[in-house]
């Protein structure tokens, strides 16, 4: 985390005085972007830097679904399993990916290339079914489109 401190200082200057606690989420996002997950030492260092209790940071890490305490595969495929996507073939797509990758949601392929997850509505219901590939939205999916994407990401 230490290399990010100048950036965090600049961020703190943008917030009103007394808002140090608000920096927990944006700092954790940046740490995760850099490392791929949030490590124990990050929690300690961020707590010390912001002057907030480490337990608050731990709670945040468990509460929000986007934070990770462990690395994921090179490509993190997060498929929506909510209503509108399911109505346009989302459930079949999840099964298709389970078969293609040989893993269940929450698992990573043995070669470390792909992690499969299911998520709730991504706000892409009009272009369902939808998923995220790392930070990017991929929408209007079909089994063929997914196969082409897997080929591209191999």
């Amino acid at each position: 985390m230490r290399s990010l401190i100048p950036e965090f200082e600049a961020l703190r200057a943008r917030f009103p005085a007394g808002f140090a606690s608000s920096l927990v989420l944006p700092c954790l996002r940046r740490i995760q972007e850099e490392r791929g997950y949030v490590a124990d030492e990050d929690v300690e260092e961020l707590a010390a830097f912001l002057g907030v209790p480490a337990i608050q940071i731990e709670e945040v890490l468990t509460f929000y679904t986007q934070f990770r305490r462990r690395p994921v595969g090179r490509w993190h495929l997060q498929l929506c399993r909510n209503v509108s996507c399911s109505m346009r073939g989302g459930e079949r797509l999840i099964e298709h990916l389970e078969r293609r990758l040989g893993v269940r949601p929450g698992e990573t392929t043995a070669d470390g290339r792909f992690t499969l997850s299911t998520v709730e509505c991504l706000g892409s219901c009009g272009t369902a079914p939808a998923m995220m590939v790392n930070e990017r939205y991929v929408e209007s999916l079909s089994a063929e489109a997914v196969d082409a994407l897997l080929e591209e990401l191999r």
Binding site: L25, V60, C121, S124
Partner: protein, 427 residues
């Protein structure tokens, strides 16, 4: 086009979201006018008299919310745009963030001026990628042009705006959960009173408004009360953005003049039910709004009063169209799984009730339902209603009783025959 439009008034192109084009369309004239010739209370009065109702889900009158905050009372006030957009079926704020970010920023400036708020935030859901880049880019443009920061447009009004990204939690879209989240904590909703307009962000008076509500503030101040009220109905002035998904030929975001005939909207504007199937049901505004049958909506219009009369609500504008042949048991199972997954766990009825209801419906869908299950679902749903800190617990109950009220026979069939009447079909 579904009646007159106030927000989607320009062709979307590669550059229509940029500041230069927004200005060419007359953008930032409203804040210039307000800073030159209006007092803060004049802005609040305009929004109140225009009759703007919140677009985030509860349809609460925007002006009435603002009136609680007293400009110049010696303490800081905060304004937050709710861009968490997590209600399943809803993707309309995304349209504004991606295509009209300056409309939102201008509305926030006007609102901050009215509320005497020096600092504003846009709380945007963590997954949103392009919407985040677009709104963050627009904020940078506005700072560079002197539309944000110190002494805006040469006036003595100063205002800063921070875009704050969530990290994946539906309940953080609830206004008080959002405030907890913006304080860098778990997104736990808070008990009220005190109202957030009295003690909100860091215990200071705070207004939380939806993205679309704030964008309409720009329209109201720019065009005036009469022009705004000339659109829509007497009880539902203006327009609403609807995000339409599910079994529909042309899904997408539509701006609809309130009072527009519902069936006509689906058949003509959205191209009708997918593959020409019959219309079974419609979720009007996100899964937390009560479902209506195809027959129910036949003579309804899209307005707040029309939906209230039908015992539902326009909610978040997330309209999900359900074709004949769809299994409602499976649909409810997905909804309840969602609420259980998203319950923050603070309130016992919600923490247990959502899981309990989900297990019962999953069991029915799996062909293992018991005759007493339907009454039990009603019992658990009633237990949730009004006994919890935030609306999530209630919403889970409404989703369940909403579907049971209309499609009870399908659940009975599934329990009796140990299989779904529609083979569990969702597509």
């Amino acid at each position: 086009m579904a009646g007159r439009q106030l927000l989607m008034t320009f062709p979307v192109t590669e550059s229509s979201h940029r500041l230069a084009e927004y200005r060419a369309r007359g953008g930032y004239a409203a804040i210039e006018k307000a800073l030159r010739s209006m007092r803060p209370e004049d802005v609040t009065k305009q929004v109140t008299d225009a009759g703007l109702q919140g677009r985030g889900g509860a349809s609460f009158p925007t002006g009435r919310k603002w009136q609680v905050v007293v400009p110049g009372d010696g303490q800081p006030h905060y304004l937050i745009a709710n861009a968490d957009e997590g209600e399943p079926g809803t993707f309309k704020d995304r349209w504004i963030l991606e295509n009209a970010p300056h409309l939102l920023i201008e509305g926030m400036l006007l609102t901050a001026y009215a509320l005497d708020a020096r600092h504003c935030f846009i709380y945007i859901r963590g997954e949103f990628d392009l919407p985040y880049r677009r709104i963050a880019g627009a904020v940078d443009e506005a700072y560079a042009a002197g539309l944000l920061g110190e002494r805006i447009l040469g006036s003595d009004f100063s205002c800063d705006l921070i875009v704050y990204r969530g990290a994946g939690a539906y309940v953080a879209g609830e206004a008080s959960g959002l405030i907890s989240s913006l304080e860098g904590k778990k997104g736990y909703p808070r008990n009220r009173p005190p109202r957030l307009t009295v003690k909100g962000l860091y215990q200071r008076p705070t207004v939380v408004n939806n993205v679309e509500s704030l964008s309409n503030v720009t329209v109201i101040v720019r065009d005036g009360i009469d022009a705004f009220r000339a659109v829509g109905t007497a009880k539902s002035p203006g327009t609403r953005l609807f995000s339409v998904s599910g079994h529909i030929s042309r899904p997408g975001v539509y701006e609809v003049e309130l009072g527009y005939p519902w069936r006509k909207f689906l058949d003509e504007d959205c191209g009708g039910v997918l593959d020409g199937r019959a219309l079974k049901a419609v979720v009007p505004g996100g899964i937390s709004s009560k479902i209506l049958t195809g027959a129910d909506i036949e003579h309804l219009t899209l307005s707040h009063e029309s939906l209230w009369e039908a015992n539902s609500t326009l909610g978040s504008g997330g309209m999900i169209v359900v074709a004949e042949g769809t299994c409602m048991v499976r649909l409810l199972e997905i909804m309840l799984r969602f609420y259980h997954h998203e319950s923050c766990g603070q309130c016992t009825p919600c923490r247990h009730g959502t899981g309990w209801m989900h297990r019962i419906v999953a069991r029915i869908a799996a062909g293992e339902g018991r005759p007493e299950d339907i009454e039990r679902l009603y019992y658990v749903a009633k237990y949730n209603d009004g006994t919890t800190i935030c609306g999530l617990g209630d919403a889970a109950g409404y989703a369940a009783t909403g579907i049971l009220d209309k499609f009870r026979d399908e659940f009975e069939y599934c329990i009796e025959h140990k299989r779904s009447r529609y083979q569990g079909r969702l597509e």
